[in-house]
């Protein structure tokens, strides 16, 4: 089987496609990239159709060896990229030849990086998707994280036709984020004072932050009830357990739950949250569902409008 062999898997590397949809009824969560913008750019820079399988790398440390010719791009967290020991820029596709070693360092800003190859990785779908949800043991190569000696299957491709995203269009990953929230669910069960406290306080990302959700610490807010009849949880829902500390639920969340929720973070800002690590500062601001929809459409149009520029693979300057 041809492809990229895993020499070192690093902290956490997972196969992800756009996500698993329409399977909530049997209790499966979505999976999929925590930062869809960076994921989609990685594929686009390789000339791929949207949503094909790529690798999500948390923090870094991934080392791969290729046994074929292809093009490869890394986007997202600033992990650094070396091909055969030579530093190469992120947000750009690079030609890869048999025997090449592709190495990611550890993120100096951001938390999630994405690695795509031309044509995408050939992963048989489980429940219509290759997205890995480790908690469920579903997707990816064997339902789990990448391991040493795994081969990421892909097809050979020509190394020409590399693309880059101009630096002015690349996101900056900072150590704080103001997250826009559509108030909803049980928000009326929180007193006016608690709602004001929630939207005016600073919270901190705790050690408990993963693909299921981010637990935050800060001023406690309380609903008028401790629990509710279990109900469906959408992406970005902010659950407030009895200790009053918010949990923002992400792609690998459980599909139903019984804690009160004050609203949901909009998808554009979930990516910002997922690029933060423990100790980062987070605050919340309310937006209407109409405003959230406008933000979504503008972001989609912006992504389509920005065009990557061709690079001459041989003449490129080293990063």
């Amino acid at each position: 089987m041809n492809g990229l062999r895993v020499i070192q898997p690093g902290i956490l590397a997972l196969i992800q496609d756009a996500g698993r949809f329409g399977q909530h009824r049997i209790g499966l969560s979505n999976g999929g990239p925590l930062d869809p913008e960076a994921f989609h750019w990685a594929n686009r820079l390789c000339g791929n159709p949207p949503g094909v399988s790529a690798v999500e790398i948390t923090i870094g440390g991934l080392l791969l060896e290729s046994d074929l010719s292809t093009r490869l791009a890394v986007t997202g967290a600033n992990t650094g990229l070396q091909i055969n020991g030579i530093a190469k820029p992120l947000w750009q596709s690079h030609p890869i030849h048999p025997g090449d070693r592709i190495e990611l360092g550890f993120a100096t800003s951001g938390t999630r990086a994405y690695l795509a190859v031309a044509g995408g990785f050939d992963i048989p779908p489980s429940f219509c998707s290759s997205a890995t949800v480790v908690r469920e043991g579903i997707g990816g190569l064997n339902g789990g994280r990448l391991k040493e000696n795994d081969t990421l299957p892909c097809r050979p491709s020509t190394g020409s036709g590399c693309l880059r995203l101009a630096p002015e269009f690349q996101p900056n990953y900072c150590s704080e984020a103001c997250l826009r929230v559509v108030p909803g669910y049980q928000n009326q069960l929180f007193s006016k004072i608690d709602q004001r406290r929630f939207f005016s306080s600073d919270y901190r990302v705790s050690e408990h932050c993963d693909r299921m959700g981010y637990r935050l610490t800060g001023p406690a807010v309380h609903a008028a009830v401790d629990g509710i009849l279990s109900e469906g949880i959408c992406l970005g829902a902010i659950q407030i357990p009895t200790d009053g500390q918010p949990i923002v639920l992400l792609n690998d969340r459980q599909t139903i739950g019984g804690y009160p929720k004050i609203g949901s973070v909009i998808s554009a800002d979930l990516a910002k949250l997922a690029q933060l690590g423990p100790g980062a500062d987070v605050s919340f601001t309310p937006v209407s569902i109409e405003e959230a929809h406008t933000i979504h459409c503008l972001a989609r149009d912006r992504f389509q409008r920005i065009r990557p520029s061709p690079v001459d693979p041989e003449g490129e300057a080293d990063a």
Binding site: H24, R25, I26, V182, L229, S230, C234, S264, I289, H296
Partner: protein, 229 residues
């Protein structure tokens, strides 16, 4: 019935405050209608005890239209009797060997172990929701006399097939996982098998009856005795 914003592309319909077979049937009816009416504009639905989460595609529609479609779907709901879902029988080996909370639950309830087993079997349950983990079906409602709150400290490892009670809910753990429900026995029937067709023996709206089996029969049916931790 009330329609509430859940997220930027999600609305939640509340059908009532309590779980009941009637409300659950309405949730089922609404889910079937919305699947048809919203068609490609629908990303996913999550039916639960008394609510239905509707997740729509923000690239093709908006909440104004989804609200109108929901209103139309709800207006036509029959206040009808709960439709009878399929009846599924699940065998259970009830014993403290695989159900370490069986004796203490009986003790707290002032019942004998056999009485607890009889009462758990006597009831026909309804599948109210599937979630929490792949294939985890929430069944309701157990007789008040054998209801018991979750353990104060959840177990790190509840073996696959464990039959459990939390308040008035009961369930079979589809896979080995952490869990805080009271374990009273074990079911050898796989509750979630991606290779099987169907993947799950039950779906929301089905009825479930438990049937006591012996240790020998449990092993014959492929049951495992692995202890919880």
């Amino acid at each position: 019935m009330k329609v509430q914003v859940a997220g930027e592309n999600a609305l939640i319909i509340y059908f009532g405050q309590q779980a009941s077979p009637g409300i659950s049937a309405q949730v089922q009816q609404a889910a079937a209608r919305l699947t048809r009416l919203l068609a490609d504009d629908l990303i996913d639905l999550i039916p639960s005890y008394a609510s239905l989460l509707v997740i729509f595609d923000p690239d093709s529609t908006d909440h104004f239209r989804v609200r109108r479609v929901i209103q139309a779907a709800l207006n036509e709901l029959d206040a009808a009797l709960p439709e009878a879902g399929r009846l599924v029988e699940l065998p259970v080996y009830y014993h403290s060997e695989v159900g370490p909370d069986l004796d203490s639950l009986a003790n707290d309830a002032g019942l004998s172990t056999n009485e607890v087993i009889e009462r758990h079997q006597a009831q026909e349950y309804r599948v109210y929701a599937i979630g929490f983990a792949p294939g985890f079906a929430y069944l309701g409602e157990v007789d008040q006399s054998i209801a018991r709150p979750r353990l104060s400290t959840p177990r790190l490892k509840v073996p696959r097939g464990s039959v459990a009670i939390a308040d008035r809910q009961t369930a079979v753990y589809p896979a080995t996982s952490p869990g805080g429900w009271n374990l009273i026995g074990r079911c050898p029937t796989p509750m979630f098998d991606p290779q099987a067709d169907p993947i799950m023996p039950v779906s929301v709206g089905d009825r479930v009856r438990f049937q006591a089996i012996t240790r020998e029969r449990f092993l014959e049916l492929g049951g495992m005795l692995e202890p919880p931790a």
